[in-house]
């Protein structure tokens, strides 16, 4: 085995220091761009930079090679300071084929660097990408810093020493070559990737050696080739809080949150789900955790999935179901039943671009109104939204806490961006996680019958689960008599029960919003969900112009924080950017009669710092 070493002294160039860099890897979906990007991100994290990533998949499993539809990309933004988004426009684009170049060039600003695998720019591939002439030759890339590398040739040569490597394997290692090269260019530690390769291919020495050779070749190419230009280095971030960090995406944290809530509450975790992009990974991740008191079920459809989760809850477990938009539609009736029964249930909606099948692999946060109102009748329930990959951990725990302690279904909103993008995460400690009290009734009340729809001071009902002697009772979707839970068609009782159900939800204790406000700020930028990063970055830009701004972010969409009305009314202007047509804006206008300005975006991608900056300046008339 050969070792690749980070060796700055081997080159004549002095590395240039930058505060932040945005790199985008792009190639065919078979080219392993997600892998290359993910490895680059891990190495970057280990180098101590702050970072944010944005994977972008095609909808097809494997679209025909070299077509625009088949392009897959991975963007990473890393810096020596706290950053908030995967970045707007890449400083460098790695394009493994013509289609990748064509699909991504529009996002680049002039002056940006482009690194292409020139071997892939064949006539056929150019044609398939819709190029009539090669952009490498026809001048259309003028103004960009284009570097052409014969990657296919390079890996073939690098593989000469590896005995037993097939042509296919060699082709497949081009992404690792590119990774090696870019790692050199941005001075990333090669050891992290090297270790990963060694672990990953431990059982297949040929592949291990091949990939190590490709990595080394890429790295070495950077060091030696004049072509690549200056090496750039981004020092470790120094404005992030101290502690132990880990690079995570929002699926991992969400799953860890569920597990932590399950362990903290002592409740078994039952996840029933039907596969759907981008929610499926939650099912995948939890299915590996049988040892942690977890049972997962791949249901026959989303209706079954939520029914199963509810059945599990009825049996005393923490019943969870996860899905995306179309699956949410199907779960509505059972969620309404859970509202009526007042049983805990956590429903996770990993939002994607709608309506209908829409653009399943793209970003949107347009399921808020559905989460709040997507059921017949008066069926209020709590809605919690995760805001960043890291925060999804707390959001999941919060959703579980509310569901269990208030006996209610809770909708937890995540989205495609949170689920798939990564960021360094200050790993919390188990001891800091609040306890969750299931508070089951296990004894026959001394003073008489068990009343399943009696209330405590928070309007919460007692729960006795099957298996508890003497507390047998029946619950159902028909309206119930207060206290006994017997069927009741009495009008005033129904009104009272409706008010109790609503009052219970309205009374859930949620923290006040905290405002990050500059002295003299006249505009409040309010966000929810995964717009958090872009808003933070956009606000920073405006502040850098010396304009005072206030910013706050909602994690609870129902009930709303008690101080929110007051906060909204204390600013001359409120700007609410969201990746939908203005949904939260509607909710808040109705609630507080405040003339909130919407900034909306339905372009299937996360918001960008620049557009937030522009929107703020517009609102301010600046």
């Amino acid at each position: 085995m050969t070792t690749v070493e980070r060796n700055q002294s081997g080159t004549d160039h002095q590395p240039e220091e930058r505060e932040s860099v945005i790199v985008r890897f792009a190639g065919d979906s078979g080219d392993g761009m997600q892998l290359a990007g993910g490895r680059f991100a891990d190495a970057t994290a280990m180098a101590g930079n702050d970072l944010a990533t944005l994977p972008n998949f095609p909808a097809e499993i494997r679209a025909p090679a070299d077509t625009l539809g088949g392009v897959s990309s991975f963007q990473i933004h890393f810096a020596s300071r706290d950053i908030a988004t995967p970045g707007d426009s890449p400083n460098i684009l790695v394009a493994m084929n013509p289609a990748a170049l064509r699909a991504n060039i529009g996002d680049l600003e002039k002056g940006a660097a482009i690194l292409v695998n020139e071997d892939a720019f064949t006539k056929r591939a150019l044609m398939k990408a819709g190029y009539e002439t090669s952009p490498l030759d026809d001048g259309s890339l003028d103004g960009f810093q284009v570097t052409r590398v014969s990657m296919t040739e390079m890996v073939t040569r690098a593989a000469e020493d590896v005995e037993g490597a097939t042509t296919r394997d060699i082709q497949k290692s081009r992404n690792i070559f590119a990774l090696g090269l870019v790692s050199w260019m941005y001075d990333r530690p090669a050891e992290v990737t090297q270790k990963w390769i060694e672990g990953k291919f431990a059982k297949s020495p040929v592949l291990r050696d091949l990939n190590l050779a490709a990595l080394r070749a890429g790295y070495a190419y950077g060091e030696t080739a004049e072509l690549v230009g200056t090496q750039i280095t981004v020092p470790a971030a120094n404005d992030v809080p101290p502690g132990l960090y880990r690079n995570v995406n929002g699926t991992q944290t969400l799953v860890m949150g569920l597990l932590a809530a399950s362990i903290r509450s002592g409740m078994n975790l039952v996840l029933a789900a039907y596969p759907i992009t981008p929610a499926t990974d939650i099912l995948h991740e939890l299915s590996r955790r049988g040892g942690h008191g977890v049972r997962t079920i791949q249901a026959e459809d989303e209706i079954a999935a939520v029914g199963m989760a509810l059945g599990a809850s009825y049996g005393g477990a923490l019943g969870v179901t996860s899905t995306s938009g179309p699956g949410m539609d199907l779960k509505a009736e059972t969620i309404g039943l859970a509202v009526m029964l007042e049983l805990p249930l956590v429903v996770i909606d990993v939002q994607r671009s709608g309506p209908s099948t829409g653009m399943p692999t793209k970003q949107e946060q347009s399921d808020l109104m559905m989460a709040l109102y997507g059921r017949h009748g008066e069926a209020p329930l709590p809605v919690v939204a995760a805001s960043t990959p890291g925060q999804a951990f707390e959001a999941a725990i919060e959703a579980c806490r509310i569901a269990v302690e208030y006996r209610t279904p809770v909708i937890l909103l995540s989205d495609n961006f949170i689920a798939n993008s990564t960021e360094p995460w200050l790993v919390p400690s188990a001891a800091d996680i609040p306890a969750i009290d299931q508070n089951l009734t296990t004894e026959i009340p001394a003073d008489g019958d068990f009343l399943p729809y009696a209330r405590d001071e928070r309007l919460v009902r007692p729960i006795a689960i099957p298996g508890t002697p003497g507390l047998q009772h029946r619950i159902g979707g028909l309206e119930k008599e207060e206290g006994t839970g017997n069927i009741s068609y009495d009008g005033p009782n129904h009104e009272r029960m409706s008010q109790i159900r609503a009052g219970k939800i309205a009374g859930i204790d949620v923290p006040d919003v905290e405002v990050d406000a500059d002295e003299g700020a006249e505009v409040l930028i309010l966000g929810w969900g995964s717009s958090a990063g872009a808003i933070r970055a956009g606000v920073r830009r405006v502040r850098q112009r010396g304009i005072p701004v206030a910013r706050t972010h909602l994690h609870h969409l129902n009930p709303l924080p008690a101080n929110l009305g007051e906060v909204l009314r204390s600013y001359k202007q409120v700007l609410l950017p969201e990746m939908n047509a203005g949904q939260l804006s509607k909710v808040l206008r109705a609630e507080y009669l405040v003339d909130i300005k919407s900034h909306t975006n339905l372009q299937g991608r996360p918001l960008r710092a620049a557009e937030i900056e522009t929107a703020i300046l517009e609102v301010l008339g600046a």
């Binding site: 994290a45 280990m46 101590g48 470790a236 971030a237 992030v240 101290p242 502690g243 132990l244 960090y245 880990r246 690079n247 860890m256 597990l259 932590a260 362990i263 903290r264 002592g266 039952v270 029933a272 040892g291 942690h292 008191g293 977890v294 049972r295 079920i297 249901a299 026959e300 079954a304 999935a305 029914g307 199963m308 509810l310 059945g311 599990a312 009825y314 049996g315 477990a317 019943g319 059972t334 029964l341 790993v427 188990a430 996680i433 689960i465 099957p466 298996g467 508890t468 002697p469 003497g470 507390l471 047998q472 009772h473 029946r474 619950i475 159902g476 979707g477 028909l478 017997n486 069927i487």
Partner: protein, 332 residues
């Protein structure tokens, strides 16, 4: 109270039954309540889950744990309950519309999974609660308010569908024969996997006497093909007819002397399927009894114990271990 001392009264709730006078559901309820004490399962370890429909009311009348869920979804809810708890005796009570129309998908999937639950289909071949429309088991040509010119659809047969879905216990009985019903339900209760029982049930209001060919004494003598495991499949007023094997494969009606022996435990469901296909369920002859009763891996078997075991000692240290998985680094 030990479970040995249980009586029918222990399974009767304090809620007033709300079916129409003469409804077959009363007899089914009574048969179930009569059977439960002898099963040796405490009321608190028994759960009834139902969907919506007249039959769905069942849940309220049994003094166990129970959930009156939503239309068609009871098998899914029961599956979820079992996924967390295989220490309970789980019963689902359903109507023909609930189980076979809106709930068809959950039915076939819970059957293929062999989820341990007893599912009763109270088959009155009509929609009772919504006041008389065709159900998926109504006969072709049936005139109802939604089919004033007669239904144009062939019925589903619950037995065939269940066998086609890989069911491990499949039976048919009838509300007016308490002894038969009790015997079939008893076998279902003892089946460790999923048991589906079609109960021909009268709806005096909207489909009165639709099963008279097997409930009227004289007609029943001719029409009821009794399935008894290990016994020849004979029927007829004098037991003179039989289900016989054809030389080219398949079955037919023939002489009692040539009758095949019923084997409910046969691995191959073919003969059960074939017997059910003979005659005409609407007019007879029609087979009653246990078609199939075989062992197969039980979904979620042992889950309660497994979950409990995996939880022993689970605590903050495990959370911390989870949180620290993978690459980490420290910022000072």
């Amino acid at each position: 109270m030990t479970t040995a001392e249980l009586t029918k009264a222990d399974f009767q709730s304090d809620q007033e039954t709300r079916w129409c006078p003469g409804c077959g559901d009363y007899a089914i309820l009574s048969a179930v309540q009569g059977l439960l004490p002898e099963l040796g399962v405490a009321p608190e370890n028994t759960v009834f889950i139902s969907g919506i429909g007249c039959a769905g009311r069942f849940t309220y009348y049994v003094d166990t744990y129970g959930m009156h869920s939503i239309h068609g979804r009871a098998p899914a809810v029961a599956t979820g309950l079992v996924a967390a708890r295989d220490d309970l005796s789980v019963w689902v009570v359903s109507g023909d519309g609930d189980a076979l129309s809106i709930g068809g998908n959950h039915l076939i999937h819970s059957l293929r999974r062999n989820v341990p639950m007893k599912l009763l289909i109270c088959n009155n071949r009509i929609y009772g609660l919504t006041k008389g429309q065709i159900s998926p088991t109504s006969e072709r040509g049936k005139v109802t308010k939604s089919t004033p010119e007669g239904s144009v659809e062939a019925p589903l047969d619950p037995i065939s569908l269940a066998l086609g879905s890989g069911a491990t216990f499949v039976a048919r009985t009838v509300d007016r024969d308490k002894a038969h019903m009790t015997e079939v339900l008893r076998a279902a209760a003892h089946h460790p996997g999923m048991a589906v029982v079609e109960i021909l049930q009268n709806c005096p209001v909207f489909n009165d006497e639709h099963h008279i060919h097997v409930t009227d004494k004289a007609q029943a003598a001719i029409n009821r093909i009794e399935l008894v495991h290990g016994q020849p499949v004979r029927f007829g007023a004098e037991g003179e007819r039989g289900v016989v094997a054809l030389p080219g494969g398949g079955l037919a009606f023939g002489d009692a002397a040539d009758a095949i022996i019923h084997d409910a435990t046969a691995a191959d469901p073919t003969l059960a399927f074939a017997i059910n296909g003979l005659g005409d369920p609407m007019t007879g002859p029609v087979a009653l009894g246990i078609f199939r009763n075989v062992q197969a891996p039980i979904w979620a078997e042992g889950v309660t114990a497994r979950l409990k075991a995996s939880r022993v000692g689970l605590g903050d240290a495990d959370i911390d271990a989870l949180l620290h998985e993978g690459n980490t680094w420290t910022v000072a």
